[in-house]
């Protein structure tokens, strides 16, 4: 009999995750793990101070990410990750505040908060896992579901025009906007790194395979089939017009779309507060 002895060592990235929260809830073939992996790599490469990082999520499959990250984390009500994060960031601008949530959470129920957070240009970094439907509730049509897709609530094919998230983010005032799929792991990681170093409101979308739910109804029953679609359809067109960056069966436009410099809202606000505060103190002293 051959005896094997295995040397068990900690995974080099285990410090980033709450291992006692594992196993995670995600299905086989889901892209959420890819997004967390890219995020963790970006944190590691930047040597981010984990005591000063706050991860906020809303509701949905990807919403569980907050709980999985071994940092200060908060799992809000559905759609409200951004306004919660706004309070966190303004109250303590030293904190790095990252919102990791889904397309339904950020753009349907939370859509209003998204455009206003971007308009204010508050220094919150948003990572969106776009799986093209409501996965956690069993696959309903959502704000990013492509036309003609079949879901449990669009059984005759979706007739609602989907949001183009990168166009919406760019139009709302984000300083950094990028889209990748879970196939583009290195570029996704680079984009996350970039946004973590930028000022103001930043948005990175990752198209995430959802074979168990979205794929089930749309002839892509395995993760591999969904990834094949991403591979076949993706075209990198960086800094092209985001209004033309559609997601269709034939074509998925990916790349960086916006990378501009703009003073962050929390900086402007705290500068203003210091000035007013000094004046007020002068008046009484």
């Amino acid at each position: 009999m051959i005896q094997e002895t295995a040397q068990v060592t900690l995974h080099p990235f285990s410090k980033y995750l709450r291992e006692d929260m594992m196993p995670h809830i995600w299905c086989q073939g889901c892209g959420n793990g890819v997004l967390v992996n890219a995020f963790v790599h970006a944190l590691d490469e930047l040597q981010t101070d984990l005591d000063k990082l706050v991860v906020v999520s809303g509701i949905g499959c990807i919403g569980r990410t907050a709980g999985y990250m071994n940092v200060d984390s908060f799992h809000t009500t559905h759609g409200r990750a951004l306004p919660f994060a706004t309070g966190v960031k303004l109250a303590n601008p030293e904190l790095e505040v990252v919102v990791i949530s889904g397309d339904g959470d950020l753009f349907a129920i939370g859509g209003n908060h998204f455009i206003h957070a971007a308009r204010r240009n508050i220094g919150i970094k948003v990572l969106c896992a776009n799986n093209l439907n409501y996965g956690m509730t069993g696959g309903q049509q959502g704000p990013t579901t492509p036309l003609e897709s079949v879901t449990t609530t669009s059984p005759y094919g979706n007739i609602e025009h989907p949001f183009n998230l990168v166009h919406l983010a760019a139009a709302s005032g984000a300083t950094y906007v990028a889209r990748w799929t879970s196939l583009h792991v290195r570029r996704l990681t680079q984009s996350i790194k970039k946004m973590l170093q930028k000022e103001g409101f930043c948005f990175v979308e990752m198209l995430s395979p959802c074979p168990e739910i979205y794929g089930r109804y749309n002839k892509m029953r395995s993760g591999l089939e969904m990834m094949s679609w991403f591979k076949r359809a993706s075209v990198v067109e960086s800094f092209s017009d985001p209004s033309k960056a559609d997601i269709t069966k034939e074509r998925i436009v990916v790349g960086e779309f916006v990378d501009i410099e703009k003073l962050g809202y929390e900086k402007l606000l705290h500068e203003l507060i210091s000035k007013i505060n000094e004046k007020a103190m002068d008046r009484v002293s």
């Binding site: 709450r18 006692d20 929260m21 984990l50 005591d51 000063k52 706050v54 906020v56 569980r64 907050a66 709980g67 071994n70 940092v71 200060d72 984390s73 908060f74 799992h75 809000t76 009500t77 409200r80 951004l82 306004p83 919660f84 994060a85 706004t86 309070g87 966190v88 960031k89 303004l90 109250a91 303590n92 030293e94 904190l95 209003n112 908060h113 206003h116 606000l269 203003l272 507060i273 210091s274 007013i276 505060n277 004046k279 007020a280 103190m281 008046r283 009484v284 002293s285």
Partner: protein, 380 residues
């Protein structure tokens, strides 16, 4: 705190509330304009920065409520202010503040409802919503000011209670106390009692963010302090980790959220008792209506009727024992309210056999003293 207001001032209620927040140590306000609470936001947009605090106008009341929970978790005392329609929008996140035990203060300057209702007129139609507005079972604290002075005093107290019990605390004003101008005496900062949330004494690796002390309240770490904890609106264990299919975890958590208010009720509840000792007829009133009630019992006494007033300063937890006590010796209880009958249900429940007369008023004016006196007379 050099620029804090002190001494005697002539203020409107909304402004007094805003100054009370500053005095209490509130350094974060998020809100959305709504009549008749707008002046609170306007005043704080000017005053907050003078104290190094944050004022932000959010995109709606849902966002305002979410933002103050975030600020509270970042370590600041935080408040929002609204009226009926906005209070309705806040309910889901009030539940989140309850579930994640985020200290914060919500001011509802009540107007006539339902829906858009009467934006510029007073009402007391949100007092049951204060207790039951968010889904699920929970404990909450709500207080009602009767004067501009109390708009200041009770705002300070609301912050203290919310910090001590880690529960969202509601200040249920109304359009009249919000817009009325009265003299307010503001004590110097060192004379104002300020209470702060308990901080953890354990090391970060041993910290359990939802493990309560004997008073049922867990010490609170804040973001960025190195504790690296998780909080969620899902049913969670003492680690803050979701445990959504355990009836034991659900039962222990929800009962504690109810009990930490209920079992501390004697410490939380405040009432004002006027001429109750020998009272045959007791008026139970709150908010602006209690002012007319006070006048009514005095007039009744002039006419030889032994009337008294139990003024509810705390609405939730409901001052059940106080009502039960007056019910023992009173022949009748009179409850005037600016709604179709809300707190009167609680009074009836606590009064048991003692008859309770309800006097409802809706619309422009609160009850006049003569209207309340008339019911006192009939109840004799």
């Amino acid at each position: 705190m050099k620029t804090a207001l002190t001494g005697a001032h002539f203020l409107n209620g909304d402004v007094a509330c805003a100054e009370g927040a500053i005095a209490a140590g509130c350094r974060f306000f998020a809100g959305y304009p709504i009549t008749p609470a707008t002046e609170i936001a306007e005043h704080l947009s000017q005053r907050m920065p003078e104290f190094g605090g944050i004022y932000i106008q959010m995109e709606d009341e849902i966002a305002s409520m979410a933002a103050i929970i975030g600020a509270s978790y970042s370590g600041l005392k935080a408040m929002t202010a609204t009226s009926g329609p906005g209070f309705s929008l806040m309910q889901e996140n009030i539940g989140l503040a309850v579930m994640t035990e985020a200290p914060c203060v919500i001011v509802d300057v009540m107007r006539g409802g339902p829906s858009t209702g009467q934006p510029t007129l007073p009402g007391q139609q949100d007092v049951m919503q204060a207790k039951w507005g968010s889904h699920g079972d929970y404990g909450i604290i709500a207080m009602t000011p009767s004067s501009v002075q109390e708009m200041f005093d009770l705002t300070v107290e609301a912050f203290n209670l919310s910090e001590v019990y880690r529960v969202p605390t509601l200040l249920m004003g109304d359009e009249i106390v919000g817009h009325m101008w009265e003299k307010v005496i503001i004590p110097s900062p060192d004379k104002i009692k300020i209470q702060n949330r308990k901080k953890p004494t354990s090391r970060p690796e041993e910290y359990l963010p939802f493990k309560p002390d004997d008073d049922l309240v867990p010490p609170m770490a804040c973001f960025g302090e190195g504790y690296r904890f998780h909080a969620t609106g899902l049913t969670h264990n003492e680690h803050g980790y979701p445990k959504t299919s355990s009836s034991e975890v659900q039962s222990r958590l929800v009962r504690r959220l109810v009990d930490k208010v209920q079992k501390n009720a004697d410490k939380i509840i405040r009432v004002e008792e006027v001429m109750l000792k020998d009272a045959d007829i007791v008026v139970v009133a709150y908010g602006i209506v209690a002012r007319a009630a006070l006048s009514a019992i005095r007039k009744a006494r002039e006419k030889g009727i032994k009337a008294g007033l139990l003024r509810l300063i705390t609405l939730w937890p409901f001052p059940e024992k106080h009502v039960a006590k007056v019910a023992e010796s009173a022949r009748a209880i009179v409850v005037p309210e600016m709604n179709c009958g809300q707190m009167v249900r609680e009074v009836e429940r606590a009064a048991k056999e003692t008859p309770v007369a309800f006097l409802s008023k809706l619309g422009e004016d609160p009850h006049t003293p003569m209207e309340i006196l008339e019911v006192i007379r009939r109840s004799k």
